[in-house]
């Protein structure tokens, strides 16, 4: 099918892949519980069929779309990206997906579109994590327009050549590899373009800990722990964290002139 035959990409890393077992059993997806094992244990609570994606706000072609209308098989690629969690662990994951900019361009952003806001599914009847007010549900994230239009920014619909496992954010999720993992919002139901900068879910909860940009940066520590090093899952010991998670060459220009200690 389209997923396991998706062509590779020059933007992929050639580092050894994290095992499928680790990728699917060690997850932060609070909709399904806060322990790392919860999302895989409770994955069945996420209903992904049918799935409607709403595209709205500052676009000429807004609307509600069935997932099958959003995914164009010929646009799918395999992208092997590093994923760096704000909790100082990392993985290497072979995503299958397509560039977010392709979807946005199809819906024709207006001149006033400065930011993209994403919203996850809100279904407290089924998702056990959403019955507790740990986060102000639904989960929300946002990108600046130039970040959203960057070729590295992916909407992923699968990994390891298979449909996205529920615990990893089925059926469609964001992947922004130079930012901490929490920016890569899972199980997206709404994409909204707007002029004002949005406030993301973690930022709303604790703005001094989780900035809007959340770029991977070994020189700016989280207030409670260090971000200088990370544990690569499946590997003993720790390795040094790279600026922009190793995507400095591709994305550093987006933040030229910005004080990254202030805009963390």
């Amino acid at each position: 099918g389209a997923l396991d035959e998706a062509p590779g990409s020059g933007l992929s890393t050639d580092e050894p892949l994290t095992s499928l077992d680790d990728i699917t059993s060690y997850n932060n997806f609070y909709e399904l519980g806060t322990r790392k094992r919860d999302p895989s244990d409770w994955a069945h609570q996420l209903q992904t069929d049918p799935w409607t994606l709403s595209i709205e706000g500052e676009v000429n072609k807004p609307g509600e779309f069935d997932l099958s209308d959003v995914i164009r098989p010929d646009e799918l690629e395999q992208r092997i990206y590093r994923l760096r969690c704000v909790e100082a662990w990392s993985m290497v994951i072979p995503w299958v997906g397509f560039e977010l900019r392709k979807l946005l361009e199809r819906h024709e952003p207006t001149d006033r579109a400065k930011y993209v806001v994403f919203e996850s599914i809100h279904d407290p009847d089924n998702l056990r994590g959403q019955r507790r007010g740990i986060i102000d549900w639904p989960y929300r994230e946002g990108l600046r327009m130039d970040e959203a239009m960057h070729p590295l920014t992916l909407l992923a619909v699968g990994l390891y050549g298979k449909p996205m496992p529920n615990q990893n954010g089925a059926p469609i999720r964001l992947v922004v590899p130079w930012k901490y993992g929490f920016k890569s919002i899972k199980s997206i139901v709404r994409i909204r373009l707007q002029e004002e900068r949005p406030v993301s879910a973690w930022e709303a909860m604790s703005p001094e800990e989780y900035g809007f940009y959340a770029n991977v940066n070994p020189h700016v520590d989280h207030p409670r722990w260090s971000q200088a090093r990370e544990r690569r899952i499946g590997e003993p010991g720790r390795r040094e964290t790279l600026m922009f998670n190793g995507y400095e060459e591709e994305v550093a220009h987006l933040y030229e002139g910005m004080d990254l200690e202030k805009h963390f």
Binding site: Y26, Y30, M205, W225, R229, I233, R238
Partner: protein, 199 residues
């Protein structure tokens, strides 16, 4: 009388099994890929949580004796306290060895740079004099009242442990609130007893 001795003996064996079995399980699971995707983190978390739970259980033996009058609770107190110390030392060693990989410059930097590490370490260091004076000879050398005063530091140590856990918690505070509430209840009971005894 024999019945009483058997019950005390049985309780001591129970404490031994309850405190030692998880260590055997942890070693087995470590070598048999039974600890999930991040085994170092699993060991650090388990040793810390279990050690703090045992410390609270040790504190709870005093109230348990007071409420039940059963001397077995007091007989097992030193044993349980030393197990708590054992698990919390294991926690610190697991952090240094499995998490930081014995990288001393990094360990040193985290010790001074990270608040939660400082609180945790302070709580553990406070337990050292308690462990060293837990034996009868030390108790007699110190004298009853000085020994008791010293061993009240266990409340401070447990409080530092809860603070350490609190700082580390991300968003979901349920578990750490349970630890904190148990400690608060035990401290309140102790203070209540002190007031009653003074009358």
């Amino acid at each position: 009388m024999d019945h009483q001795k058997t019950a005390i003996h049985g309780f001591r064996v129970l404490v031994l099994v309850a405190c030692a079995t998880p260590a055997l399980w942890l070693v087995w699971a470590w070598f048999n890929a039974g600890l999930g995707a991040n085994p170092a983190e699993a060991v650090v978390h388990f040793t810390g949580r279990f050690g703090l739970a045992l410390l609270l259980a040790t504190i709870a033996l005093g109230p348990a004796f007071r409420l039940s009058g059963w001397v077995g609770f007091m007989v097992a107190r030193r044993q349980l306290g030393l197990w708590a110390f054992f698990w919390l030392v294991a926690h610190a060693l697991a952090w240094m060895g499995l998490d930081q990989y014995w990288d001393w410059p990094w360990i040193w930097q985290d010790l001074w740079g990270l608040e939660y590490i400082r609180y945790g370490l302070a709580g553990l260091v406070l337990l050292v004099p308690l462990a060293l004076t837990s034996f009868r000879a030390a108790q007699q050398a110190l004298g009853r009242s000085r020994w008791q005063w010293l061993h009240r530091l266990v409340y401070l140590s447990a409080a530092l442990g809860v603070v350490h856990f609190w700082i580390l918690t991300r968003a979901d505070y349920r578990d750490v609130v349970i630890y904190g509430a148990v400690l608060a209840a035990l401290a309140a009971f102790r203070l209540g007893c002190a007031v009653v005894d003074r009358r």
